[in-house]
């Protein structure tokens, strides 16, 4: 018989209470992980941002275009490595509920700057040769069962009219932080029709993406770009890609903060659940602990029994909660409208925090009962009727 056996027997000494505590911790950890996953999904764009990319947009608003002519001038600024651009195309594919980003891009440079979109070279070659070709993310291909050569009819809204694109490439995201739900096609194709049908908008692009040599120079280069177009008809606002992505979240920041706070309040609730169980458990066993002390068990051994029981309860609950989180997150994602969160996955950090929280809660929940057991004199403990 080892002390550890007594520890394990104690965990389920009161089976119903032990199981309810484990389930309680499990539900709380699942709620924590789910909330953290949602918060992470909001920040996915920010986290996917590259440090060496700047975004240059119209100074008044993102919705106003910039002249294509700016490209060459930006490219001449020292420290600028490559310039590409994109325009928000939007449009309706199938129906208005089918949301994913549709961008007209400079196909000669865009995929160099966004190397996280992994397009097979042979598909990219075919894409470059065909004017209405499009490259779509693997999630889009899967969601709409699209294959190479399939036609994607889109009804334009920002750029009105009926548009048809041929899927010539399907990209894979480089990692979990990369959005797998974007559609990109040739800016030249868009420009061609814009010149014919909306000539007043010809030569406009949405925003520039500027790759720089050294991220440490981002502030200086941003200033340089904006200075270049100061007092022009389309002044620019240049910032890091991270800051640009962050600006989209400002409207929802209060909700995100609330969710973040809530997720950590839940950790506090777990502490109360396990703490309550441990206090009850230790109080009931005051007499028993006194006997163990009388037999010669030391404070360290009693710490092992009490803290160990608390940690085991908490860790079992955390493991259960994290185990349930994976199907829960998958179910949550299915229940959301398509494209709501392009990047939605449980981050390793969330799992690590869940485990660490389990351990920490286990230790903290043991403090009060442990203090009580260690400070109760043996003779008082032996007299205790629990």
């Amino acid at each position: 018989m080892e002390l550890v056996r007594l520890l394990f027997r104690n965990v389920l000494r009161h089976k119903l209470r032990g199981i309810l505590t484990i389930v309680g911790v499990g539900v709380a950890v699942m709620a924590f992980a789910l909330l953290q996953t949602v918060v992470s999904a909001w920040y996915a764009g920010v986290e996917a941002s590259a440090a060496n990319r700047l975004i240059s947009r119209h100074a008044v608003s993102f919705v106003f275009p910039l002249p294509l002519a700016y490209r060459d001038r930006i490219a001449q600024i020292p420290g600028v490595n490559k310039v590409t651009f994109a325009s928000w195309f939007s449009g309706v594919y199938i129906d208005k509920n089918q949301f994913f980003a549709r961008l007209a891009v400079d196909s000669d440079t865009f995929f160099d700057v966004y190397s996280e979109f992994l397009v097979p070279p042979e598909q990219f070659e075919v894409f470059k040769r065909e004017r209405n070709a499009a490259i779509i993310g693997s999630d889009i291909a899967q969601r709409y069962n699209l294959k190479l050569g399939d036609i994607m009819p889109i009804e334009g809204d920002v750029f009105p009219g009926q548009w048809e694109f041929v899927v010539r490439g399907i990209y894979e995201p480089r990692d979990q932080t990369t959005d797998p739900t974007t559609m990109m096609f040739h800016y030249k194709y868009l420009e061609e029709r814009v010149r014919q049908e909306m000539p007043q908008r010809a030569g406009d692009i949405g925003w520039y993406i500027v790759r720089i040599d050294d991220p440490d120079n981002s502030a200086a280069i941003s200033q340089e770009i904006d200075k270049l177009f100061a007092n022009s008809r389309a002044e620019t606002k240049t910032e890091t890609e991270r800051a640009f992505q962050q600006s989209f979240l400002s409207a929802a920041s209060a909700v995100i903060t609330a969710m973040n706070v809530m997720s950590f309040v839940i950790i506090g609730i777990i502490l109360l659940v396990v703490g309550n169980t441990m206090i009850m458990s230790a109080r009931e066993r005051t007499h028993e602990f006194a006997v163990l002390k009388a037999l010669g068990f030391t404070g360290g051994q009693l710490f092992f029994l009490i803290a160990g029981e608390s940690i085991l309860l908490s860790l079992f609950g955390s493991a259960l909660g994290l185990g349930v989180t994976f199907p829960a997150v998958a179910g949550f994602e299915t229940a959301l409208p398509k494209g709501w969160f392009p990047v939605f996955y449980i981050k390793p950090e969330t799992v690590a925090i869940g485990c660490a929280a389990g351990l920490l809660v286990g230790v903290l929940a043991a403090i009060i009962p442990l203090r009580r057991v260690l400070t109760t004199r043996i003779v008082e403990g032996l007299r205790h009727v629990g």
Binding site: M1, E2, R9, L292, K293, A294, G296, G299
Partner: protein, 225 residues
């Protein structure tokens, strides 16, 4: 001349209740030889359990000394006392105080965890102790599956498993029927005679006291004889 095994010298013990000091033991002097079987009797509140606790090292006197085999237990700190108890004292309680989630064998093995014995040796010692109390065939039973008398015999097996020199028994028959009490007393008598254990027993039961070699009476915190 050989010094007595247990020497209790001018022991005074009081409890503080709010601002009131309540004396429990007054000027106790006692010498107990090794291999003695002594019963402490007296009315409730006379201080006999307190005296037993002081000798067993689970409580400390307000003043005075208790020397056991040359060690002044009143001078030991909590950790030293824990080690000393695990090596020298076996406890037999009125309500057995077995751990309900452990089998009889595991309960007996419990104090052996504190010894340097290997797992195999611990098990052998525990089985032997259970054989001594006549419960070898019940070793895998949980306390709830045993009668009161059997539980107390398991508790005695636990008390002797580490082979301590002293056994302290606080009302060991207080919760038992007559037949079971007789079995337990017979067992304690054997442990004293055959294994030369020094036994200190607190009891209200005159029949239990009769099994001891000597009886000391306490009244209002003082030894009368």
């Amino acid at each position: 001349m050989v010094a007595p095994f247990i020497q209790v010298q001018e022991i005074y013990k009081s409890y503080q209740r709010d601002s009131l000091e309540i004396p429990v033991l007054r000027n106790i002097n006692l010498e107990i030889a090794e291999g003695e079987f002594i019963a402490f009797m007296g009315p409730s509140g006379s201080g006999k359990t307190t005296l037993l606790n002081l000798i067993a090292g689970i409580d400390k006197p307000t003043s005075g000394k208790i020397l056991i085999a040359g060690t002044d237990v009143t001078e030991l700190n909590e950790s030293e006392l824990a080690v000393w108890r695990s090596r020298n004292v076996g406890f037999i309680f009125q309500f057995y105080n077995l751990i309900p989630v452990l089998t009889a064998l595991e309960n007996v093995e419990l104090p052996l965890i504190l010894t340097p014995l290997s797992k195999k040796e611990r098990r052998a010692h525990a089985e032997m102790a259970l054989a001594v109390v006549g419960l070898a065939e019940r070793m895998h039973h949980y306390p709830r599956q045993l009668s009161g008398g059997q539980e107390q015999r398991v508790a005695i097996a636990r008390a002797i498993a580490t082979d301590p020199a002293i056994l302290v028994a606080d009302e060991p028959t207080g919760d038992l029927d007559k037949a079971s009490a007789e079995e337990v007393l017979e067992l304690m008598d054997r442990l004293n005679r055959e294994l030369n254990k020094t036994i200190l027993m607190v009891t209200h039961d005159p029949r239990a006291a009769e099994r001891a070699r000597s009886t000391r009476n306490l009244d209002k915190g003082e030894l009368n004889n």
